[in-house]
Symmetry: C7
Subunit: 80 residues, 7 copies
């Protein structure tokens, strides 16, 4: 299966590589949401957003500018 997998599929974090300098939506454990431009990430899913804002009910509730989010808080990341 591994050989087949390597040929036919990408790795999950490749989605982050493709999203650099683009806007992403981040959902954290507990429900917090952030939107911002992905600046960097590592294999723990630690990531830095630029022009970041925290959202409540989809509306901006706090402008953070640059923010480093610790990866273990993340539920999902979705490119927008």
């Amino acid at each position: 299966m591994n050989a087949q997998k390597n040929l036919n599929t990408s790795r999950p974090l490749d989605v982050l590589g493709k999203s650099l300098n683009s806007q992403v939506l981040i959902k954290l454990k507990g429900g917090r949401e952030f939107r911002g431009v992905l600046n960097s990430f590592d294999m723990h899913m630690n990531l830095v957003l630029n022009d970041a804002e925290e959202l409540e009910s989809g509306e901006s509730s706090r402008r953070l500018g640059v923010v480093l989010i610790r990866g273990d808080n993340i539920v999902y990341i979705s490119p927008e």
Copy 2:
């Protein structure tokens, strides 16, 4: 037992390999559910869904398109 196991049984993550490009249902800790087409996964169960939607009471509540879900949130994955 190991020899017997290797002969007679598959490994749990083989189910993900067989589900690539097919629709899966994902249940997360806390109860969140997602449905989408499995695009990639790794050994931590980090995975990417395409055409993903978040579900509430089995109905689509949010269309996410592409979403990277962090594996440590996952309770179960079921091919549909």
Copy 3:
């Protein structure tokens, strides 16, 4: 003690090896229960059930067919 242990006792996961292709009851953290036929498992207790159903108060509440359960959610596994 180790020598004595190796001679006289089995390892806990041997119970899973003996339960392959048999029905098991799975209890998860938070109280969720599943019943199904054990198809595969690994050392993290990730496991795949066939003919799986989720239970509420001992009754089937949802038929899942094939399901991969992430091992870190598991409280106990009992062969039936």
Copy 4:
């Protein structure tokens, strides 16, 4: 201290080795309790009980027979 410790004291899991084939009481995180005959254990405190029952307020609430308990759920184990 290490030398002194090795001479004068045993290791905590030795209590499990001495309890094989004897009845033990298991308390889990969240308050669940089990009583059964210890059949096997490993260094993660994964363990198998035979003739196991789940307890509520000290009374048997569910007979499980053989049960594999995942070690990370355990608060304490007490030989009876």
Copy 5:
């Protein structure tokens, strides 16, 4: 700093080595308390108490005799 530390200070678990065969108070996550005679411990803070009792509001609520407590539940240990 390391050299200075090794000369001037002890290591935290040395307190457990000095408490062997003496009474200790154990506080667990969630608030549970135990008192007993420390019989053994390891580097994960797994430990065995003899003559152990569970406490409620400082009073004995359950006599456990010998008990193996899994280290990851522990908040603090205090020699008495």
Copy 6:
């Protein structure tokens, strides 16, 4: 992707290196917030703030001076 990543992007913790001796806002799991001057950090995101204060509703509720925050509590860090 790795080569491209190394050329074009920085690593998330570089944001902390650039924030040394500057004021940062720290959000912890559970909602606690701190503001202070970043004095040091390590790869676990353990960090030391000088002139630190704990915030409630954005207002200073407790002056701590020097504080070492354990990295596993951190949700995000934002330079101000």
Copy 7:
């Protein structure tokens, strides 16, 4: 960045080395607070306090004398 970091900044746990034999305030997950004289620590932030007391609303609620606190419970440590 690493070279610059090693030259210009200290490591977070250095704050603990400098606080040996001095009074510190400890905040735990869940809100518990302790005050005492730091006797020892290790890289997991396991630490021993002498003359320790547990605090409620900043007042002493329980005198513990010597206490070993397991590092994974700690939110922050502040020298006083």
